[in-house]
Symmetry: D2
Subunit: 339 residues, 4 copies
């Protein structure tokens, strides 16, 4: 049950609402986001929602039977649009495109990547400064030094930054330099991190877990939303299966389902989704017709020399082709949607 409450609800009215909920054995969870105030009421009994809906201070009330509430389309039917400023939006009329290296490696690499992105019209650059690695002896990223270097260059060129945050303690330090915080697959159910990211006012791109279900992804987003941050993107990046011909099984079904179940934008990550360079393009194009609002792809000056994920990274020529075709596909998708 989602109860939208007035921003200026009086303490008396709120107490009355809580008392009413307790009376019918529902537990109320207050949520204050950038855009609204809600009471999420969880309980088991059936009851007449009008008895609550007509209380003073209550604006609206919706039954949501899913295990996720605020991120469900059953409640909010209009698609969420995330505004990054400077005319860059996600989930709106334009396809959302993000590209860049797996790891931020050097000033030269940053500069070269930015020039390439600008040339092909990409306004959001990806890159890792904190890298989750299976082995403790692998390169784990340049950390804050890398992020500051990157931010300086990105600002100069009006490029937005998306990068992964791995732990609660990193958030504050990273905050001034980051436009979108990415939560990686391994942290998809790191609930303390999700709680903390719900308390800031920056967009979050939440990746599906390595073998996360669609419902778990939506519940992860619910953590962020219910802590106060409505600016969330869902990211399909492939799941673990028995097939060894590629890295992950890109779940094209999930894109179609997420778009129907949730109002949040959905971003496809074909680089991890298939994990082999020559298949990134077909999978990326497919994701748009399945309903994705955009694509995030790994691009590097010399993929073979990348510090990590080189085998799934595009070079500049491939990247230019891909993004051209993505835009053509987007046009077709819009045309078909109007039919």
């Amino acid at each position: 049950m989602i109860i939208q409450i007035a921003k200026d609800i009086s303490k008396k009215d709120k107490d009355q609402l809580i008392e009413k909920l307790n009376h019918i054995q529902y537990k109320g969870n207050e949520v204050h986001t950038q855009f609204g105030n809600y009471m999420i009421a969880v309980g088991k009994k059936e009851f007449d929602i009008r008895a609550v809906g007509t209380l003073p201070g209550v604006i609206d009330i919706h039954r949501v039977s899913d295990n996720y509430k605020l991120v469900s389309k059953k409640w909010k039917v209009n698609d969420t649009v995330i505004d990054l400023g400077d005319g860059v939006t996600i989930g709106a009329d334009d396809i959302a495109l993000m590209a860049g290296p797996c790891s931020i490696e050097s000033e030269e690499q940053i500069e070269s990547t930015i020039l390439h992105l600008k040339e092909i019209g990409i306004k959001i650059m990806r890159g890792g400064v904190y890298k989750p690695r299976s082995s403790p002896y692998s390169f784990r990223g340049l950390g804050m030094d890398g992020l500051r270097l990157w931010h300086e260059a990105a600002k100069r060129h009006s490029i937005k930054i998306i990068t992964e945050v791995m732990m609660v303690e990193q958030i504050d330090e990273m905050l001034p330099y980051v436009d979108i915080f990415q939560v990686g697959a391994r942290n998809s159910q790191n609930f303390n991190l999700l709680d903390a990211l719900g308390k800031i006012d920056k967009p979050i791109l939440l990746k599906r877990g390595i073998s996360g279900t669609i419902e778990e992804l939506l519940q992860g987003a619910e953590y962020i939303f219910s802590n106060g941050n409505e600016k969330i993107m869902l990211c399909e990046r492939g799941i673990r299966s028995y097939e060894t011909a590629y890295r992950n099984t890109f779940d094209i079904n999930s894109i179609a389902i997420l778009k129907e179940k949730s109002h949040l934008p959905v971003i496809a990550d074909p680089s991890h989704g298939v994990g082999i360079r020559q298949y990134v393009e077909p999978v990326a194009l497919a994701s748009i017709l399945a309903g994705a609002d955009g694509v995030i792809a790994e691009v590097h000056t010399v993929p073979e020399k990348a510090f990590s994920d080189g085998q799934q990274t595009l070079d500049y020529g491939q990247s230019k082709n891909l993004f051209n075709k993505l835009r053509m596909t987007w046009e077709l998708k819009k045309e078909m949607d109007r039919m």
Copy 2:
């Protein structure tokens, strides 16, 4: 190692070839198909292929390191085109479209379906007369009676028939009535069936196993090819995963990979691939941009009343929309391929 041999190779030359192979500890498997004669030589040692390539009666020789040989693109770089007659081809310039009910149920249903397919320009009708069912107490199809009824109507309307064959003993009886034999996911590694289908001259659509690997699918096709039948289509129909939000995980990656590894046409089955009606369209469209040569989809007059698979079956209106959009997508794909 694939050694293409002359159709009129003399016994002496063939014996010499076999002797040569034995000498280098390779085992030769002779293959005679509709289109050529081959010797598939399997062994472990490295050797100078010219020593074999220059023997009399040998036309060509190719090293193929994959576990599948004749279906590999390493050997035959041109895509295979399957001609069904009457101008219906698969793997050529046109998108291959097949539609129809899960089960053939009645004369009325057949007639209605054919009229619908003709209206929307589909020339190949799918339908099951032998149905593999998990429970022995479920409806198992109308059998040969259904097939004969169907064939009579299809012939009248110039519609091609694709239907599933489940066992070797059914082949002969079905042969006069069928244009494409389908091998279902559960029989994907029924090697005796594949052997037998390799000995007839009718196209085969081979579905990937319920949890079959891409390599197993190609090796299954190798069974058919090496028995003499080159007319094979590969079909991606989703794989079994932990996700319960849908029926199967449609493996979009496999489409891109199959198209690169093999010269055989690839058909997408979005109906089984996602298993829920409203997601069939996005998955089908996606499959084309991933590289599929065509789509097979379940369509029924009244999906809710279908004897089987109703929940993933489109009605006529949805079907018309889908096939329109598939053709638009095909146009875009062709345009992008020319870039």
Copy 3:
């Protein structure tokens, strides 16, 4: 609904029963096995079972809500015991042990294996004469010639034979030489084969599919039973998962569950279940405490030289140790069951 009917039910009484079932919109499936006559009634409506149970010719009636009926313990609470003759039983007080090579290779190999089995007290020998192989170019077994050789030796030494049957056409020819027919994982849902094996009076060992569910395995057994053959063993042989550290994921849970859901004996196949020689013993021992009635294991004179599956095959010394420990484990299991 399982309705046990008298062997000598009159035609009139049977017609009355069928009429009654039709009246309540149930479909009756008559089943005649070696041990009883049944009517399996499938329908949706709730009704008073006494109205059927008191009809003449009806001995007993059981509601079974599972998708499998005759193999369910809800109906038959006593464990099924399969008698192979000569004092060899499966599912009774003794642990059932089967061993032998993956493939029957030669007379010498047969003789040596039999002597080894006799020395360590194993009375059932496994071995393949028809081998399902992923590649058409692999060794596919010695066929009937191998089986006849084997049978001659086995008869001489009073050893029982279990071997895989791959297609309906093979059954008649194999019948005189085989004590237990094995259905392999790839044929677990080859329903025509299951139908045919239900029509003979020889025990069947049915393997779980490569990614078969527990319910599918039980429904596969239902095919055999409902065609007339009650002599069925269920075999857990590992399932396909994402883990690549071994061949298959032996599903120890399934053993416990199958024993609770069904009255049929359960046999563990640790050789395929883990696929690496040194882990066969721990997995085999574990299976007994999980509830397995016996174990089938691959054993070879010189595992490294086996035509197939050598890496998961035990040598004679390892085999002797394993079967000793299995018997010790069996004793503990019986002791704990009495507690």
Copy 4:
């Protein structure tokens, strides 16, 4: 490459060692644990290890080709024993047994559980005070208040405490009250948490990820070890598969493999491993014969009223039976190991 270095190695000798490693293009990672000083050298070139092994200050040197080093049995062949004090050890001659509720709920529950555990001879109590939950609206544990209550009672009764830690910030506060820190499946690759737990001197029980590989589990342990903490237990708790008849697929193979690959103790969690009460016992017993050093199981006064995981929780009677049988199984295992 693991280079064991003298505790009192001189700066000069260490510099010489590092220089030598750099010279052969190896990167050295210094590790100081409770028990030793090591240099983990990672590189690609083959070289003569004697050239390093004979340097001053170097005690020993081992080539370890696995992706994990310090946790590998290739280096340390003797099994690790973890001493919790008061005669409680893990990985030694006695079976390690841990039991208790999923969540710590109240003082009464704590007291009752402790009395039960003491009665049946269990010396380590499990229980969650920080609970990872899929939904933000579920009960998330009593936190530090619960832990303090629990600790007070546990101390009084000489019971050891194992409980889950979810984030770096919780460690310091929990430290005085906890005997074993548990890392849950969802945090199995929360590398910052693993780093931090490597810097304390308390035993860690590391659970395998929800779909973690065996190698990822060992690499996770390597994170802890390489940060300085050698006191690690590995925990198999079932993996995610397509099977829906139970909660997780308990991977019995992994127990056998982990025991062979690593010197660390392995604990089985049959409660999560199968997720249904009546199958916990068979799975638990099986795990011992597969090689587990102990078992952790969920036990509750009234499982049906447990705040979480009730369906997989044993009552006291079941718990008493289970632990009796586990000890009998342990005796058999020891006897067979001596054979």
